[in-house]
């Protein structure tokens, strides 16, 4: 009889933990990874898009509405990058995750933003985000800020677990900071190498690791370069000695291949978001993979 009770308890205890977990729907896989690290077993985090998709072009789906409908919180990149989430949140009719509610976690709120436009913005400048460049997750130091924001939001939602969230966050940040130190050391060897990222999503990465950039393949964000722009860029790259092109796995190969052929620069396909390739399955592994791929390309 005792064995039956023990078996019953062994099933019941994990079930009660699952039932009590905070359900957090994250727009990207790297946010979900950080939420899992900070929330531990008190949180069930899922994501709606991963690095195989272009965050600017995600098509909202009804199944996403159901995930948000049953959520205790949503965590977004913000700055209009995941603007497609707004319609999903509205359609979910879930009051606890609407903008302004405690369950709406905008991770951009404490980020030091780059490329914040001044004055009038319109389509003549390309696809400019009015709140600034929203790809801040590509500076790993911003991962620390994201973890802190997540800790505070989860603690506000579940004050009883705040101590656990703080401890998990401290551990994660310590680990991430150690990794950052290692990555910076590895990337310091590449400081004199000039690179050409496809899109300005790599700005935070280039700045974080002090790389030299020959500009971007897209002269205006989101707009494919014209033949004239490609020719001028090729001249500049040759002058600067640019030897490496950063392109996301999903980025169309047409203009990337052309500029590579015109300059002899190597192309390295690296994801800008977790799970863009299977090896980049966490926020930390995203940088491990990208830096490893850059090093390999330069060997």
């Amino acid at each position: 009889m005792e064995k039956i009770w023990m078996a019953f308890l062994m099933v019941l205890v994990p079930l009660s933990l699952i039932a009590d977990q905070l359900k957090v729907v994250c727009t990207t896989a790297e946010i979900a990874d950080i939420v899992k690290n900070v929330g531990g077993d008190r949180v069930n985090a899922i994501w709606l898009m991963d690095g195989r998709q272009d965050p600017h072009s995600v098509e909202p789906r009804p199944s996403m509405v159901m995930k948000v409908k049953n959520a205790d919180a949503v965590a977004v990149i913000g700055m209009d990058l995941d603007i497609w989430m707004d319609g999903i949140i509205r359609a979910s009719k879930n009051p606890v995750v609407q903008k302004g509610a405690p369950g709406y976690i905008d991770l951009s709120s404490r980020i030091k933003k780059l490329e914040v436009p001044q004055g009038k913005v319109d389509g003549s400048m390309g696809d400019v985000h009015i709140y600034g460049n929203p790809h801040y997750q590509l500076d790993p130091a911003n991962g620390v800020v994201m973890a802190e924001s997540i800790k505070e939001a989860l603690s506000a939602l579940r004050p009883n677990d705040a101590v656990l969230f703080r401890a998990n966050c401290t551990l994660y940040v310590r680990n991430l900071e150690a990794k950052i130190a290692g990555w910076k050391k590895r990337m310091a060897a590449l400081k004199d190498i000039s690179v050409l990222p496809t899109h300005n999503c790599w700005l935070y990465f280039v700045e974080a690791f002090g790389l030299k950039s020959a500009g971007y393949l897209e002269q205006k964000p989101g707009i494919a370069p014209s033949p004239g722009e490609l020719a001028a860029l090729a001249e500049k790259m040759k002058k600067d000695g640019t030897g490496l092109i950063f392109a996301e796995p999903f980025y169309p190969s047409g203009s990337v291949d052309k500029i590579s052929a015109m300059t002899g620069a190597k192309t390295v396909r690296i994801p800008s978001s977790a799970l863009g390739v299977p090896e980049a399955d966490t926020y930390i592994n995203l940088f491990e993979y990208d830096i490893g791929a850059i090093e390999k390309a330069l060997k």
């Binding site: 195989r52 998709q53 272009d54 600017h56 072009s57 995600v58 098509e59 909202p60 789906r61 009804p62 199944s63 509405v65 159901m66 409908k69 603007i83 497609w84 707004d86 319609g87 999903i88 509205r90 359609a91 979910s92 009719k93 879930n94 009051p95 609407q98 302004g100 001044q118 004055g119 009038k120 913005v121 319109d122 389509g123 696809d127 989101g222 707009i223 999903f250 169309p252």
Partner: protein
């Protein structure tokens, strides 16, 4: 005429104010305002050799959206559309949405595109094709069905997506001038009751199936002069398969049955269309559409069309679309080439 003045006031006062506030980076309480325009070339040739080719400015829309309360949003869409060579101004939509009501419900009240069928609630510039499907042209009318009234919609507490929407509306009737003959154009009018059920199922990590049921009960266009009662039932299916970051296969099909009661009897009409589209990459999309429909009422006639559609998305707010259609009944070839452009904030609604 009043609407014309509203337009002029908007253009003269609100928009410059918005622009100057934006330039000064001042916090504002202005709504999000955007413009959408449409223009292009139309050409056709029929069996008799009659040719027609023209450049057309199809009109533009001004959209304004803003919140009046954390749970109450206002949407305003005013349009200027080309109609028989002249530009007509109209308020297409002006409604308030009351969200976060009990039992996952929300209420919309005012004037709006009625939630009927797969595409009536979607503005035509956001459709995947240029020409209206024949069942919409025959059963709904030349333009999308707009009503003044209210609707309630609820997300049902199920493990999969089921949204139910029910509405009560009034749409303008056709008033006959003395001596005017009845035309054959048809559109639901007067007091209308609609119901739509929209469900969706994940059929894989990268695919989703949507099923819809629609119903509409009310009157036909001539109900002020004589008996003209209608009931429409419709069903639709949409299957999307995302193949990569930009490529997507999409199958959409919709069928409707309309029963119309007029003094000379009760008539039933069927219609359907099927669309198969392939988004090749970030910018190109190719599709085919097949349409078949019977016009409602005593003078029933059948028509069909096969269309080939090619779209080029230059940016999120600028697209070019070409459409070729062939109607075998009239042996008419039609070619359309349109540019659809927008300025101002864009959204990604679930639709």
């Amino acid at each position: 005429m009043k609407i014309k003045y509203i337009f002029i006031a908007l253009i003269l006062f609100v928009l410059p104010s918005a622009a100057s506030f934006a330039q000064e980076k001042t916090a504002t309480a202005l709504p999000d305002i955007s413009f959408i325009g449409e223009a292009g070339l139309n050409s056709s040739i029929n069996a008799a050799g009659d040719r027609d080719a023209s450049f057309s400015f199809d009109g533009f829309e001004i959209n304004a959206m803003g919140y009046m309360h954390p749970d109450v949003r206002a949407d305003f869409v005013a349009g200027a559309h080309s109609h028989d060579g002249s530009i007509e101004f109209e308020v297409e939509e002006a409604y308030a949405t009351f969200s976060n009501l009990p039992f996952s419900t929300s209420i919309k009240a005012g004037r709006k595109l009625m939630d009927f069928g797969r595409i009536n609630h979607i503005h035509s510039h956001e459709w995947l094709f240029l020409s209206s499907p024949l069942i919409y042209a025959d059963f709904i009318g030349e333009h999308s069905l707009i009503g003044d009234g209210a609707s309630i919609d609820a997300l049902l507490p199920l493990s999969f997506f089921v949204n139910v929407q029910a509405g009560i509306w009034r749409a303008a009737a056709h008033e006959h001038e003395e001596g005017e003959e009845h035309d054959h154009a048809f559109s639901p009018s007067g007091d209308l009751y609609n119901l739509r059920l929209w469900s969706s199922f994940e059929t894989g990590e990268s695919s989703e199936l949507e099923l819809g049921l629609s119903g509409l009960k009310g009157h036909g266009l001539h109900y002020l002069e004589h008996t003209d009662r209608i009931e429409i039932a419709g069903t639709d299916l949409t299957w999307k398969l995302w193949l990569s970051a930009y490529s997507r296969l999409m199958l959409m099909a919709e069928a409707m049955y309309l029963e119309r009661q007029v003094p000379s009897g009760t008539f039933g009409s069927w219609g359907a269309y099927a669309y198969l589209g392939y988004k090749i990459d970030k910018q190109w999309e190719a599709a085919v559409k097949y349409d078949w429909s019977e016009t409602p009422g005593p003078e029933r006639s059948k028509s069909s069309a096969i269309s080939i559609i090619d779209s080029y998305y230059m940016t999120e707010s600028l697209k070019l679309r070409a459409e070729y259609s062939y109607c075998p009944e009239t042996e008419t070839h039609t070619g359309l080439l349109k540019v659809i452009y927008g300025i101002g904030p864009h959204t990604h609604p679930l639709q």
